[in-house]
Subunit: 240 residues, 2 copies
Protein backbone atom coordinates (compact mmCIF):
# COMPACT_ATOMS: atom_id res chain seq x y z
CA UNK A 1 0.00 0.00 0.00
CA UNK A 2 2.86 2.34 0.77
CA UNK A 3 5.83 2.42 -1.54
CA UNK A 4 8.46 3.99 0.61
CA UNK A 5 11.45 4.48 -1.61
CA UNK A 6 13.98 5.08 1.08
CA UNK A 7 12.56 8.37 2.24
CA UNK A 8 10.92 9.04 5.54
CA UNK A 9 7.65 7.37 6.32
CA UNK A 10 5.92 10.70 6.68
CA UNK A 11 7.05 11.70 3.20
CA UNK A 12 5.81 8.43 1.77
CA UNK A 13 2.39 8.99 3.31
CA UNK A 14 2.32 12.56 2.03
CA UNK A 15 3.17 11.42 -1.46
CA UNK A 16 0.63 8.62 -1.35
CA UNK A 17 -2.22 10.89 -0.31
CA UNK A 18 -1.01 13.69 -2.55
CA UNK A 19 -0.99 11.40 -5.57
CA UNK A 20 -4.48 10.19 -4.83
CA UNK A 21 -5.78 13.72 -4.62
CA UNK A 22 -3.94 15.12 -7.61
CA UNK A 23 -4.75 12.12 -9.77
CA UNK A 24 -8.42 12.49 -8.98
CA UNK A 25 -8.91 9.31 -6.97
CA UNK A 26 -10.09 11.61 -4.23
CA UNK A 27 -12.39 14.21 -5.71
CA UNK A 28 -12.69 17.79 -4.47
CA UNK A 29 -15.20 18.30 -1.67
CA UNK A 30 -14.87 14.62 -0.92
CA UNK A 31 -14.17 13.77 2.66
CA UNK A 32 -11.09 11.72 3.28
CA UNK A 33 -11.54 8.79 5.64
CA UNK A 34 -11.12 9.72 9.27
CA UNK A 35 -7.62 9.82 10.67
CA UNK A 36 -8.18 6.55 12.47
CA UNK A 37 -9.27 4.80 9.28
CA UNK A 38 -6.39 6.16 7.25
CA UNK A 39 -3.92 5.15 9.94
CA UNK A 40 -5.26 1.63 9.80
CA UNK A 41 -5.33 1.58 6.00
CA UNK A 42 -1.78 2.85 5.62
CA UNK A 43 -0.37 1.13 8.64
CA UNK A 44 1.10 4.22 10.27
CA UNK A 45 0.56 6.04 13.50
CA UNK A 46 -1.70 8.99 13.86
CA UNK A 47 1.31 11.26 14.43
CA UNK A 48 2.79 10.38 11.07
CA UNK A 49 -0.50 10.59 9.26
CA UNK A 50 -1.26 13.99 10.72
CA UNK A 51 2.15 15.36 9.74
CA UNK A 52 1.47 14.20 6.20
CA UNK A 53 -1.97 15.79 6.16
CA UNK A 54 -0.47 19.02 7.47
CA UNK A 55 1.91 19.10 4.54
CA UNK A 56 -1.00 18.68 2.15
CA UNK A 57 -2.84 21.36 4.06
CA UNK A 58 0.12 23.66 3.52
CA UNK A 59 -0.17 23.09 -0.21
CA UNK A 60 -3.86 23.96 -0.17
CA UNK A 61 -4.94 20.46 -1.17
CA UNK A 62 -7.06 19.74 1.88
CA UNK A 63 -8.78 21.50 4.71
CA UNK A 64 -9.57 19.89 8.06
CA UNK A 65 -12.28 20.66 10.53
CA UNK A 66 -13.34 18.91 13.67
CA UNK A 67 -16.40 16.79 13.17
CA UNK A 68 -16.61 17.56 9.44
CA UNK A 69 -13.48 15.64 8.72
CA UNK A 70 -10.69 16.39 6.26
CA UNK A 71 -11.84 17.31 2.79
CA UNK A 72 -10.19 17.85 -0.56
CA UNK A 73 -10.35 21.48 -1.58
CA UNK A 74 -11.42 22.71 -5.00
CA UNK A 75 -8.51 22.75 -7.41
CA UNK A 76 -8.52 26.52 -7.61
CA UNK A 77 -7.19 26.60 -4.05
CA UNK A 78 -4.27 24.29 -4.77
CA UNK A 79 -0.77 25.69 -4.97
CA UNK A 80 -0.38 24.36 -8.47
CA UNK A 81 3.19 25.60 -8.69
CA UNK A 82 4.24 23.59 -5.70
CA UNK A 83 6.96 21.35 -7.04
CA UNK A 84 5.57 18.27 -5.33
CA UNK A 85 2.01 18.90 -6.50
CA UNK A 86 3.24 19.32 -10.04
CA UNK A 87 5.41 16.21 -9.76
CA UNK A 88 2.47 14.14 -8.51
CA UNK A 89 0.39 15.37 -11.40
CA UNK A 90 3.05 14.35 -13.86
CA UNK A 91 3.35 10.95 -12.17
CA UNK A 92 -0.38 10.49 -12.59
CA UNK A 93 0.14 10.78 -16.32
CA UNK A 94 0.13 13.81 -18.54
CA UNK A 95 -2.83 14.58 -20.74
CA UNK A 96 -3.04 16.67 -23.90
CA UNK A 97 -4.98 19.22 -21.87
CA UNK A 98 -2.18 19.43 -19.32
CA UNK A 99 0.33 19.98 -22.08
CA UNK A 100 -1.76 22.81 -23.48
CA UNK A 101 -1.75 24.52 -20.12
CA UNK A 102 1.92 23.85 -19.56
CA UNK A 103 2.94 25.33 -22.87
CA UNK A 104 0.77 28.37 -22.31
CA UNK A 105 2.67 28.93 -19.10
CA UNK A 106 6.00 28.31 -20.71
CA UNK A 107 5.08 30.70 -23.53
CA UNK A 108 4.39 33.32 -20.92
CA UNK A 109 7.70 33.33 -19.18
CA UNK A 110 10.40 31.43 -21.02
CA UNK A 111 10.84 33.89 -23.89
CA UNK A 112 10.91 36.71 -21.38
CA UNK A 113 13.41 34.82 -19.27
CA UNK A 114 15.66 34.50 -22.30
CA UNK A 115 15.49 38.23 -22.79
CA UNK A 116 16.42 38.90 -19.18
CA UNK A 117 19.16 36.27 -19.23
CA UNK A 118 20.66 37.95 -22.27
CA UNK A 119 20.61 41.46 -20.88
CA UNK A 120 21.38 40.74 -17.24
CA UNK A 121 23.11 37.37 -17.05
CA UNK A 122 26.71 37.27 -15.88
CA UNK A 123 29.56 35.76 -17.87
CA UNK A 124 29.55 32.72 -15.63
CA UNK A 125 25.81 32.22 -16.06
CA UNK A 126 26.15 32.54 -19.82
CA UNK A 127 28.99 30.03 -19.74
CA UNK A 128 26.81 27.57 -17.89
CA UNK A 129 24.07 27.92 -20.49
CA UNK A 130 26.62 27.31 -23.22
CA UNK A 131 28.03 24.28 -21.39
CA UNK A 132 24.61 22.70 -21.12
CA UNK A 133 24.01 23.31 -24.80
CA UNK A 134 27.33 21.66 -25.58
CA UNK A 135 26.26 18.70 -23.49
CA UNK A 136 23.04 18.41 -25.50
CA UNK A 137 25.06 18.34 -28.68
CA UNK A 138 27.58 15.89 -27.27
CA UNK A 139 24.99 13.44 -25.97
CA UNK A 140 23.73 12.39 -29.35
CA UNK A 141 23.64 8.72 -28.47
CA UNK A 142 22.31 8.85 -24.93
CA UNK A 143 18.68 9.93 -24.69
CA UNK A 144 18.79 10.15 -20.92
CA UNK A 145 21.80 12.43 -20.89
CA UNK A 146 20.27 14.54 -23.63
CA UNK A 147 17.05 15.00 -21.72
CA UNK A 148 18.95 15.90 -18.56
CA UNK A 149 21.10 18.40 -20.42
CA UNK A 150 18.07 19.92 -22.10
CA UNK A 151 16.45 20.36 -18.71
CA UNK A 152 19.55 21.97 -17.24
CA UNK A 153 19.81 24.24 -20.26
CA UNK A 154 16.37 25.67 -19.64
CA UNK A 155 16.90 25.94 -15.88
CA UNK A 156 20.21 27.71 -16.41
CA UNK A 157 18.38 30.35 -18.42
CA UNK A 158 16.05 30.98 -15.50
CA UNK A 159 19.02 31.19 -13.15
CA UNK A 160 20.66 33.75 -15.41
CA UNK A 161 17.69 36.11 -15.15
CA UNK A 162 18.62 36.88 -11.56
CA UNK A 163 14.93 36.89 -10.69
CA UNK A 164 14.43 34.38 -7.88
CA UNK A 165 10.78 33.97 -8.77
CA UNK A 166 11.61 32.88 -12.27
CA UNK A 167 14.13 30.45 -10.81
CA UNK A 168 11.49 29.08 -8.49
CA UNK A 169 9.06 28.73 -11.33
CA UNK A 170 11.63 26.73 -13.22
CA UNK A 171 12.21 24.42 -10.26
CA UNK A 172 8.48 23.97 -9.90
CA UNK A 173 7.91 22.81 -13.45
CA UNK A 174 11.08 20.76 -13.46
CA UNK A 175 9.25 17.45 -13.25
CA UNK A 176 6.86 18.46 -15.99
CA UNK A 177 9.71 19.52 -18.25
CA UNK A 178 11.57 16.30 -17.61
CA UNK A 179 8.64 14.15 -18.59
CA UNK A 180 7.80 16.17 -21.64
CA UNK A 181 11.41 16.16 -22.84
CA UNK A 182 11.61 12.43 -22.31
CA UNK A 183 8.38 11.89 -24.12
CA UNK A 184 9.33 14.01 -27.10
CA UNK A 185 12.78 12.47 -27.46
CA UNK A 186 11.37 9.00 -27.07
CA UNK A 187 10.70 8.58 -30.75
CA UNK A 188 12.70 10.91 -32.90
CA UNK A 189 16.35 10.67 -31.84
CA UNK A 190 17.16 14.33 -32.24
CA UNK A 191 14.96 16.79 -34.10
CA UNK A 192 17.34 18.86 -36.14
CA UNK A 193 15.25 22.02 -36.04
CA UNK A 194 14.99 22.03 -32.26
CA UNK A 195 18.68 21.45 -31.83
CA UNK A 196 19.42 24.38 -34.11
CA UNK A 197 16.99 26.58 -32.20
CA UNK A 198 18.64 25.68 -28.90
CA UNK A 199 21.89 26.87 -30.40
CA UNK A 200 20.34 30.08 -31.65
CA UNK A 201 18.80 30.80 -28.27
CA UNK A 202 22.15 30.12 -26.64
CA UNK A 203 24.08 32.34 -29.03
CA UNK A 204 21.59 35.18 -28.79
CA UNK A 205 21.71 35.13 -25.00
CA UNK A 206 25.48 35.13 -24.90
CA UNK A 207 25.80 38.03 -27.30
CA UNK A 208 23.28 39.96 -25.22
CA UNK A 209 20.60 39.97 -27.89
CA UNK A 210 17.52 39.87 -25.71
CA UNK A 211 15.02 40.37 -28.51
CA UNK A 212 16.59 37.65 -30.61
CA UNK A 213 16.80 35.19 -27.73
CA UNK A 214 13.15 35.82 -26.98
CA UNK A 215 12.17 35.26 -30.60
CA UNK A 216 14.15 32.04 -30.94
CA UNK A 217 12.76 30.70 -27.69
CA UNK A 218 9.23 31.30 -28.97
CA UNK A 219 10.08 29.33 -32.08
CA UNK A 220 11.65 26.62 -29.98
CA UNK A 221 8.55 26.34 -27.84
CA UNK A 222 6.34 26.14 -30.90
CA UNK A 223 8.49 23.43 -32.45
CA UNK A 224 8.74 21.56 -29.18
CA UNK A 225 5.01 21.72 -28.68
CA UNK A 226 4.42 20.26 -32.10
CA UNK A 227 6.90 17.43 -31.61
CA UNK A 228 5.45 16.68 -28.23
CA UNK A 229 1.92 16.65 -29.55
CA UNK A 230 2.86 13.95 -32.03
CA UNK A 231 4.78 11.96 -29.43
CA UNK A 232 1.94 12.08 -26.96
CA UNK A 233 -0.52 11.11 -29.66
CA UNK A 234 1.66 8.11 -30.45
CA UNK A 235 2.12 7.10 -26.84
CA UNK A 236 -1.61 7.39 -26.14
CA UNK A 237 -2.35 5.15 -29.10
CA UNK A 238 0.14 2.59 -27.89
CA UNK A 239 -0.64 2.21 -24.22
CA UNK A 240 -3.51 4.16 -22.73
Amino acid sequence: MLSRGGGRLCSAVTAELGRRIVSGSLQPDESLPTEAEMCAALGVSRTTLREAVKRLHGKGLVVANPRRGTRVRATRFWNQFDSEVLAWRVEAGITPEFLDYLYEIRDCFEPRACCLAATRGSEAEHARIRAHFAEIVAATDDAGRRVAADLEFHLAIFAATGNPYLVSLGSAIRAALHVSFSLSQQRSPIPHQELRLHGQVCDAIIRGDGEGAQRYMRQLLDASRATLGLALHESLKVAP
Copy 2:
Protein backbone atom coordinates in the same frame (compact mmCIF):
# COMPACT_ATOMS: atom_id res chain seq x y z
CA MET B 1 5.56 35.53 21.38
CA LEU B 2 2.79 33.91 19.41
CA SER B 3 0.08 36.06 17.94
CA ARG B 4 -2.64 33.58 17.30
CA GLY B 5 -5.34 35.46 15.51
CA GLY B 6 -8.11 32.99 16.01
CA GLY B 7 -6.61 30.28 13.84
CA ARG B 8 -5.32 26.97 15.04
CA LEU B 9 -2.27 26.89 17.20
CA CYS B 10 -0.38 24.87 14.63
CA SER B 11 -1.08 27.51 11.99
CA ALA B 12 0.11 30.25 14.28
CA VAL B 13 3.37 28.43 14.89
CA THR B 14 3.78 27.80 11.16
CA ALA B 15 3.25 31.47 10.41
CA GLU B 16 5.58 32.57 13.18
CA LEU B 17 8.44 30.38 11.97
CA GLY B 18 7.63 31.06 8.34
CA ARG B 19 7.78 34.81 8.88
CA ARG B 20 11.11 34.52 10.67
CA ILE B 21 12.58 32.56 7.81
CA VAL B 22 11.16 34.61 4.97
CA SER B 23 12.00 37.89 6.65
CA GLY B 24 15.58 36.79 7.08
CA SER B 25 15.68 36.55 10.87
CA LEU B 26 16.70 32.97 10.29
CA GLN B 27 19.30 32.85 7.56
CA PRO B 28 19.68 30.02 5.05
CA ASP B 29 21.90 27.18 6.21
CA GLU B 30 21.29 28.31 9.74
CA SER B 31 20.15 25.65 12.11
CA LEU B 32 16.92 26.28 13.89
CA PRO B 33 16.93 25.61 17.61
CA THR B 34 16.18 22.01 18.48
CA GLU B 35 12.58 20.95 18.71
CA ALA B 36 12.75 20.91 22.48
CA GLU B 37 14.06 24.47 22.60
CA MET B 38 11.49 25.77 20.15
CA CYS B 39 8.70 24.08 22.06
CA ALA B 40 9.84 25.82 25.20
CA ALA B 41 10.33 29.16 23.46
CA LEU B 42 6.92 29.12 21.78
CA GLY B 43 5.10 27.41 24.57
CA VAL B 44 3.65 24.59 22.49
CA SER B 45 3.94 20.85 22.52
CA ARG B 46 6.31 18.94 20.32
CA THR B 47 3.36 17.57 18.35
CA THR B 48 2.23 21.04 17.33
CA LEU B 49 5.72 22.26 16.64
CA ARG B 50 6.51 19.30 14.44
CA GLU B 51 3.33 19.71 12.41
CA ALA B 52 4.29 23.32 11.82
CA VAL B 53 7.80 22.38 10.77
CA LYS B 54 6.37 19.76 8.41
CA ARG B 55 4.32 22.42 6.69
CA LEU B 56 7.43 24.54 6.23
CA HIS B 57 9.24 21.46 4.98
CA GLY B 58 6.48 21.00 2.41
CA LYS B 59 7.11 24.51 1.17
CA GLY B 60 10.80 23.84 0.81
CA LEU B 61 11.78 26.34 3.49
CA VAL B 62 13.53 23.89 5.79
CA VAL B 63 15.04 20.46 5.77
CA ALA B 64 15.38 18.29 8.84
CA ASN B 65 17.88 15.55 9.62
CA PRO B 66 18.49 13.59 12.74
CA ARG B 67 21.48 14.82 14.66
CA ARG B 68 22.11 17.72 12.26
CA GLY B 69 18.93 19.48 13.27
CA THR B 70 16.48 21.45 11.16
CA ARG B 71 18.05 23.96 8.83
CA VAL B 72 16.79 26.73 6.60
CA ARG B 73 17.27 25.85 2.96
CA ALA B 74 18.76 28.17 0.38
CA THR B 75 16.13 30.44 -1.12
CA ARG B 76 16.38 28.77 -4.51
CA PHE B 77 14.70 25.71 -3.01
CA TRP B 78 11.73 27.65 -1.65
CA ASN B 79 8.36 27.36 -3.30
CA GLN B 80 8.24 31.08 -3.86
CA PHE B 81 4.81 30.89 -5.41
CA ASP B 82 3.32 29.32 -2.34
CA SER B 83 0.63 31.76 -1.31
CA GLU B 84 1.66 31.68 2.33
CA VAL B 85 5.34 32.17 1.59
CA LEU B 86 4.52 35.12 -0.61
CA ALA B 87 2.16 36.53 2.02
CA TRP B 88 4.83 36.26 4.71
CA ARG B 89 7.28 38.04 2.48
CA VAL B 90 4.83 40.86 1.92
CA GLU B 91 4.16 41.08 5.65
CA ALA B 92 7.87 41.42 6.24
CA GLY B 93 7.78 44.55 4.12
CA ILE B 94 8.19 45.02 0.42
CA THR B 95 11.38 46.38 -1.01
CA PRO B 96 12.03 48.10 -4.33
CA GLU B 97 13.89 44.98 -5.38
CA PHE B 98 10.87 42.82 -4.63
CA LEU B 99 8.68 45.11 -6.69
CA ASP B 100 11.06 44.82 -9.60
CA TYR B 101 10.83 41.06 -9.49
CA LEU B 102 7.07 41.11 -8.99
CA TYR B 103 6.48 43.34 -11.97
CA GLU B 104 8.74 41.22 -14.13
CA ILE B 105 6.55 38.28 -13.25
CA ARG B 106 3.37 40.24 -13.84
CA ASP B 107 4.74 41.42 -17.18
CA CYS B 108 5.23 37.80 -18.12
CA PHE B 109 1.76 36.61 -17.31
CA GLU B 110 -0.82 39.32 -17.17
CA PRO B 111 -0.72 40.60 -20.75
CA ARG B 112 -0.88 37.06 -22.04
CA ALA B 113 -3.67 36.28 -19.61
CA CYS B 114 -5.63 39.21 -21.02
CA CYS B 115 -5.19 37.82 -24.48
CA LEU B 116 -6.46 34.40 -23.44
CA ALA B 117 -9.31 35.90 -21.44
CA ALA B 118 -10.39 37.84 -24.49
CA THR B 119 -10.30 34.92 -26.89
CA ARG B 120 -11.47 32.12 -24.61
CA GLY B 121 -13.39 33.70 -21.74
CA SER B 122 -17.09 32.95 -21.43
CA GLU B 123 -19.81 35.58 -21.37
CA ALA B 124 -20.18 35.10 -17.64
CA GLU B 125 -16.46 35.51 -17.05
CA HIS B 126 -16.40 38.65 -19.16
CA ALA B 127 -19.38 39.96 -17.22
CA ARG B 128 -17.53 39.42 -13.97
CA ILE B 129 -14.54 41.35 -15.25
CA ARG B 130 -16.83 44.18 -16.28
CA ALA B 131 -18.57 44.14 -12.91
CA HIS B 132 -15.30 44.47 -11.05
CA PHE B 133 -14.30 47.34 -13.28
CA ALA B 134 -17.62 49.02 -12.57
CA GLU B 135 -16.95 48.59 -8.88
CA ILE B 136 -13.57 50.28 -9.26
CA VAL B 137 -15.27 53.21 -10.95
CA ALA B 138 -18.04 53.34 -8.38
CA ALA B 139 -15.77 53.22 -5.37
CA THR B 140 -14.21 56.60 -5.93
CA ASP B 141 -14.43 57.62 -2.32
CA ASP B 142 -13.47 54.40 -0.60
CA ALA B 143 -9.82 53.44 -1.03
CA GLY B 144 -10.29 50.06 0.57
CA ARG B 145 -13.15 49.09 -1.71
CA ARG B 146 -11.25 50.36 -4.71
CA VAL B 147 -8.20 48.27 -3.86
CA ALA B 148 -10.36 45.20 -3.33
CA ALA B 149 -12.15 45.74 -6.62
CA ASP B 150 -8.88 46.28 -8.45
CA LEU B 151 -7.58 43.00 -7.04
CA GLU B 152 -10.72 41.12 -8.06
CA PHE B 153 -10.52 42.66 -11.50
CA HIS B 154 -7.08 41.22 -12.10
CA LEU B 155 -7.96 37.86 -10.59
CA ALA B 156 -11.09 37.67 -12.75
CA ILE B 157 -8.91 38.03 -15.80
CA PHE B 158 -6.82 35.06 -14.71
CA ALA B 159 -9.99 33.10 -14.06
CA ALA B 160 -11.29 33.89 -17.54
CA THR B 161 -8.25 32.32 -19.18
CA GLY B 162 -9.51 28.89 -18.23
CA ASN B 163 -5.94 27.88 -17.46
CA PRO B 164 -5.86 26.61 -13.88
CA TYR B 165 -2.17 27.38 -13.57
CA LEU B 166 -2.72 31.01 -14.37
CA VAL B 167 -5.54 31.05 -11.83
CA SER B 168 -3.23 29.55 -9.25
CA LEU B 169 -0.59 32.11 -10.05
CA GLY B 170 -3.10 34.86 -9.45
CA SER B 171 -4.06 33.40 -6.09
CA ALA B 172 -0.41 33.08 -5.16
CA ILE B 173 0.46 36.70 -5.81
CA ARG B 174 -2.81 37.91 -4.33
CA ALA B 175 -1.21 39.22 -1.15
CA ALA B 176 1.52 40.98 -3.09
CA LEU B 177 -1.01 42.61 -5.40
CA HIS B 178 -3.12 43.72 -2.48
CA VAL B 179 -0.23 45.45 -0.77
CA SER B 180 1.02 47.08 -3.92
CA PHE B 181 -2.44 48.34 -4.85
CA SER B 182 -2.92 49.71 -1.35
CA LEU B 183 0.45 51.36 -1.44
CA SER B 184 -0.06 52.98 -4.80
CA GLN B 185 -3.54 54.27 -4.00
CA GLN B 186 -2.41 55.52 -0.64
CA ARG B 187 -1.37 58.88 -1.98
CA SER B 188 -3.00 59.75 -5.25
CA PRO B 189 -6.74 59.18 -4.89
CA ILE B 190 -7.32 57.81 -8.35
CA PRO B 191 -4.79 58.06 -11.15
CA HIS B 192 -6.81 58.98 -14.20
CA GLN B 193 -4.56 57.24 -16.67
CA GLU B 194 -4.66 53.92 -14.85
CA LEU B 195 -8.42 54.05 -14.51
CA ARG B 196 -8.75 54.63 -18.24
CA LEU B 197 -6.40 51.77 -18.99
CA HIS B 198 -8.42 49.45 -16.79
CA GLY B 199 -11.42 50.37 -18.87
CA GLN B 200 -9.58 49.80 -22.10
CA VAL B 201 -8.36 46.40 -20.96
CA CYS B 202 -11.88 45.53 -19.91
CA ASP B 203 -13.44 46.66 -23.20
CA ALA B 204 -10.84 44.90 -25.30
CA ILE B 205 -11.32 41.63 -23.45
CA ILE B 206 -15.08 41.78 -23.77
CA ARG B 207 -15.00 42.48 -27.49
CA GLY B 208 -12.58 39.59 -27.94
CA ASP B 209 -9.66 41.74 -28.95
CA GLY B 210 -6.81 39.71 -27.51
CA GLU B 211 -4.03 41.76 -29.03
CA GLY B 212 -5.54 44.99 -27.83
CA ALA B 213 -6.16 43.69 -24.33
CA GLN B 214 -2.59 42.50 -24.16
CA ARG B 215 -1.28 45.88 -25.30
CA TYR B 216 -3.40 47.86 -22.86
CA MET B 217 -2.41 45.59 -19.99
CA ARG B 218 1.25 46.18 -20.76
CA GLN B 219 0.61 49.90 -20.63
CA LEU B 220 -1.33 49.49 -17.41
CA LEU B 221 1.50 47.57 -15.82
CA ASP B 222 4.01 50.20 -16.90
CA ALA B 223 1.89 52.97 -15.50
CA SER B 224 1.18 51.06 -12.33
CA ARG B 225 4.86 50.31 -11.84
CA ALA B 226 5.70 53.97 -12.16
CA THR B 227 3.03 55.07 -9.71
CA LEU B 228 4.06 52.41 -7.28
CA GLY B 229 7.71 53.35 -7.54
CA LEU B 230 6.88 56.87 -6.45
CA ALA B 231 4.58 55.71 -3.68
CA LEU B 232 7.15 53.31 -2.30
CA HIS B 233 9.82 55.98 -2.49
CA GLU B 234 7.56 58.26 -0.47
CA SER B 235 6.66 55.63 2.07
CA LEU B 236 10.28 54.64 2.56
CA LYS B 237 11.21 58.25 3.20
CA VAL B 238 8.43 58.60 5.73
CA ALA B 239 8.78 55.53 7.91
CA PRO B 240 11.60 53.09 7.29
